[in-house]
Amino acid sequence: MSARPPLLSSAEEAEILAGVKAGGAARRAASERLCRALGEPLLALCLHLTGRRADAEDATQEALVAVDRGLPSFRGEARLGTWAYRIALRAALHVRARRRDGEPLDPEPRGLAAAMARLPAEPRAVLSLFAVEGLSHAEIAAILGVPEGTVWPRLHAARRLLVESLGKK
């Protein structure tokens, strides 16, 4: 695995935000462009966080709707992608909580998916973000809102919990 390029460059993000400001057809085009760029990585993140494809689709949907609605009030304090990932992270945790205790994962709980499902939200979020293509550790730190230097120890701690969880049946 090597260093990964960002999904949206700063120039692309600026174009999207300009489209949102312009309104009308440009706003719709900007919104569609953002959804196209973020749809797949957000779905991957939501899949790891929820453990079920249907839940991941619901969470992606909720996140994209929230992103679309929130775009006009986006203050630009973070990168657009970072902001969207944060929204998706919350949406996935929220959607996962809708699943009643004991409801099976999809497919049936097995191996890594089951071990991930047993982890608390924090280590699951760290492992999931690192498994998404296109996110650097600096972006992951920005998404989690933690200092950049603490990301690696967090990943290491999460991995150890995952190994322990893999040992449990």
């Binding site: 779905l43 991957a44 690192f130």
Partner: protein, 227 residues
């Protein structure tokens, strides 16, 4: 000399393309003789590969049409919320109509209109706030800690509201069966009002509270969720 833990952090850095040139040789040297770190690297690589494969499969099989339909539906959620409010206002108006003698109906409906408008505005405000919960406060501080605080506040609110709505239902039922009124039928009016409030109580008790408790447990608020 660095510990295994430090080398395992270095393994993660290498796996994600962030290991500096100077750190590579010591790591390879350590890995050549440490079985524990070799096992750690194998597990980390294996887990990442499985997760990537799962994500690829999910992306390939995703029902994007369903997602797009959901997005369009989500955009129209405010219309659905407005329809719910209109239905609730109509329900209250219906209760006023049914419980009032025919000659007084028009005048009483006009008198209750301002309170219904206030109710609709209040519900709209709560719905708008809750609709923005995913984007609200999203860029402030440590994300999961902020979310934890919000979920905890939500849990406490849902618990209080559960008892508050139960008390309101009990009061409305008491008024429905023991209340006296000369110009309207208290059984129809208070009984009719008790039905939607009981619906809210049922929703809080059976849907909202268990969901928020699950979310709290997931975020590590185990004791708070159990209380």
């Amino acid at each position: 000399m660095a510990s295994c833990e430090e080398f395992q952090v270095a393994i993660e850095k290498r796996l994600h393309g962030a290991l500096g040139e100077a750190e590579r040789a010591p790591l390879d040297e350590h890995l050549a003789r440490c079985e524990r770190c070799q096992a750690y690297e194998a597990t980390a690589r294996g887990a990442e590969a499985v997760m990537e494969a799962q994500a690829r499969e999910a992306v390939a099989q995703a029902d994007w049409e369903r997602v797009e339909r959901g997005i369009r539906g989500g955009v129209h959620a405010s219309v659905r919320m407005l329809a719910t409010q209109v239905f609730f206002a109509a329900w209250v108006a219906g209760m006023v109509w049914l419980s009032t003698p025919a000659p007084l109906r028009g005048e009483r409906l006009l008198r209750t209109m301002p309170s219904m408008v206030v109710l609709v505005v209040l519900v709209a405000f709560v719905a708008a706030y809750s609709g923005r919960r995913l984007t609200a406060l999203v860029d402030r501080g440590e994300m999961l800690e902020t979310w934890r605080q919000l979920v905890l506040a939500n849990l406490l609110w849902a618990r209080r509201m559960q008892w508050a709505t139960a008390a309101v239902v009990a009061f409305l039922l008491y008024k429905a069966f023991a209340g006296r009124a000369t110009t309207f039928d208290p059984t129809v009016f208070y009984g009719g009002l008790a039905v939607p409030v009981a619906g809210v109580w049922f929703y809080l008790r059976r849907v909202k509270l268990p969901r928020v408790a699950r979310e709290a447990r997931d975020l590590g608020l185990t004791d708070e969720a159990r209380r």
